[in-house]
């Protein structure tokens, strides 16, 4: 057997699997979205129905807020941990990366333990402190699983910054905040864009957390789920999935072209 045909043979199992369980199902999903009563106009219906528009708006808003918060928290903590050496630094770093492998349902439960009816906050300050089942709970849940992902990206980039640049800026008399704004943040920009896109795409598509926390928060994955299981509106569930899939895919493609690294959404 020639080397060339051996290489092709090596690709056959993967290519067959991708064809049978990825390519054809995705084509089927797109076709199914046009098989409802209104045909392909279903995509216009999404834009004309207030409930779907409100859901889309709310999902975008929560995802944007989570992205901003995760970037702020993780950049601050990541730069701090990348640049200081002290006893306990490794412990803090381990704590901050621990939730990386938690599924969305577990994250939802963590938020219930913090802000549920029997949660910690409501026990310490009884009466008015149940936030787990609202948009606030969802925001905190998404923040919970975004912090570790963003942190790792920021720290990897921070370690590659040439310390001589900052020293030069300081020697020239720049105060610490100017060094941060003019040297450090521009150097981190590609990583921040990439990490932000991951956080945003993950929040857009996250299902487990919303599923655990509440059924009355209208975010896109929950609406897709209820359209499919409760209303049996297969065409609409498919159309919304196509929209959601395209948005997250386009974002991560953008993120990768800016950062060059492997990124993954999940949760």
């Amino acid at each position: 057997m020639s080397h060339r045909s051996f290489l092709l043979l090596c690709l056959v199992p993967l290519a067959s699997f991708a064809l049978a369980f990825l390519a054809i199902p995705l084509v089927r999903l797109v076709l199914a979205s046009g098989e409802g009563a209104e045909g392909w106009a279903i995509y216009l219906t999404i834009l004309r129905t207030p409930r779907y528009l409100a859901t889309l708006g709310q999902t975008l808003l929560v995802s944007l807020a989570v992205t901003a918060a995760a970037l702020a928290v993780s950049t601050t903590a990541g730069l701090f941990l990348a640049r200081s050496r002290f006893a306990g630094r490794r412990v803090l770093l381990s704590i901050l990366t621990l939730p990386l492998a938690f599924p969305g349902v577990v994250v939802g439960f963590m938020i219930i333990l913090l802000g549920g009816r029997q949660g910690l906050v409501n026990q310490l300050l009884p009466g008015h402190w149940v936030f787990a089942y609202s948009v606030t709970g969802l925001f905190l849940g998404y923040l919970y699983f975004s912090i570790p992902r963003v942190l790792l990206t920021v720290m990897a980039a921070a370690e590659k910054i040439d310390p001589a640049l900052e020293e030069a800026a300081r020697t020239l008399g720049a105060p610490p905040w100017r060094v941060m704004v003019d040297v450090v943040l521009p150097a981190l920009a590609p990583a921040l864009i990439a990490a932000g896109a991951i956080a945003f795409a993950t929040a857009m598509g996250a299902f487990g957390t919303a599923f655990t926390l509440a059924t009355d928060i209208d975010v896109l994955p929950m609406v897709i789920y209820t359209e499919f299981t409760l209303s049996a509106n297969i065409a609409m569930a498919s159309a919304l999935s196509v929209v959601l899939g395209l948005v997250t895919w386009a974002l991560l493609l953008l993120a990768r072209s800016l950062s060059g690294g492997t990124v993954a959404a999940g949760g």
Binding site: L7, L22, T212, G266
Partner: protein, 262 residues
């Protein structure tokens, strides 16, 4: 005396740690106390963990089985493919790599709907564990391929293989004797990632599972919705005990593979 604004990063870091760690500690304690609402003074017990085993042993075992099956499939599909992609880096290879990476970007819910609509009517397949396995392989395969590909792309495979070829080794022999041993750090990192992700996978699995085939995370969702807090917490504790060592091993193996690259 340090400037007070210097303390802000430390404060943010500690707050973030507290936010992530406090509920984990709560969950561990709740799973081990006799009555969570009366607090630790009610005593420590393994009763809840025992009840979890009684209620959910089949879910836990199914998840372990699926993770191992998923590992086997991703090894068979992913390692030879990564080798071919490393030896023929061209546009077609990029497109294929990009395509199998779609499940990293497209939400699991959408992928599950796609699979359900195409295969939902084949009830023998739909109701078997193999259906869930397909979802897990879809989601984890890109991690295996990329992990192995990263290591193979960094070594001079061509020269190594030419050396072996002049000694008379055929393509299959070279794959087994040269490619696989050289790719081992990447295979190990990929394998640990696959197992860790498979055990925790929920978004696809929730849509693909049947009432008779519940995985560990599906069981977790079930316990959060219908069991008392102590049992839900004890089950979460069981999950932590499984996933945290895997996560640590995964990070160690990935760092090791990275070091070999640089």
């Amino acid at each position: 005396m340090r400037h007070p604004t210097r303390l802000i990063p430390l404060a943010v870091t500690l707050l973030a740690c507290a936010f992530l760690l406090v509920p984990i500690v709560q969950s561990v304690l709740a799973g081990l106390t006799v009555n969570y609402f009366r607090g630790l003074s009610s005593g420590l017990t393994l009763k809840w963990v025992g009840e979890v085993w009684g209620l959910y042993a089949s879910s836990i075992l199914l998840s372990i089985w699926l993770a191992l099956a998923c590992l086997a499939v991703t090894l068979v599909l992913g390692v030879p493919a990564a080798y071919a992609l490393a030896r023929r880096p061209g546009r077609a290879a990029r497109v294929l790599e990009e395509f199998i990476s779609l499940p990293l970007a497209v939400p699991g819910l959408a992928l599950a709907l796609a699979l359900l609509q195409l295969y939902g009517s084949y009830s023998g397949f739909r109701t078997s564990w193999a259906f869930i396995l397909v979802g897990h392989v879809l989601y984890t395969l890109p991690f295996m391929v990329r992990s192995v590909l990263a290591v193979l792309a960094a070594i001079d495979l061509k020269t190594l293989e030419e050396g072996a070829a002049t000694l008379g080794a055929g393509p299959a022999r070279r794959f087994v004797d040269i490619v696989v041993p050289n790719a081992l750090p990447g295979i190990l990192a990929g394998a640990l990632t696959v197992v860790t992700l498979s055990i925790g996978e929920f978004n696809l699995t929730w849509m693909l599972h049947t009432p008779y085939l519940k995985t560990l995370p599906v069981g977790l969702a079930d316990s959060y919705a219908s069991m008392r807090l102590e049992i839900a917490s004890a089950y979460t504790l069981v999950f932590f005990v499984m996933i945290v060592p895997l996560l640590v091993a995964m990070q160690w193996a990935s760092a090791r593979a990275q070091r070999i690259l640089s």
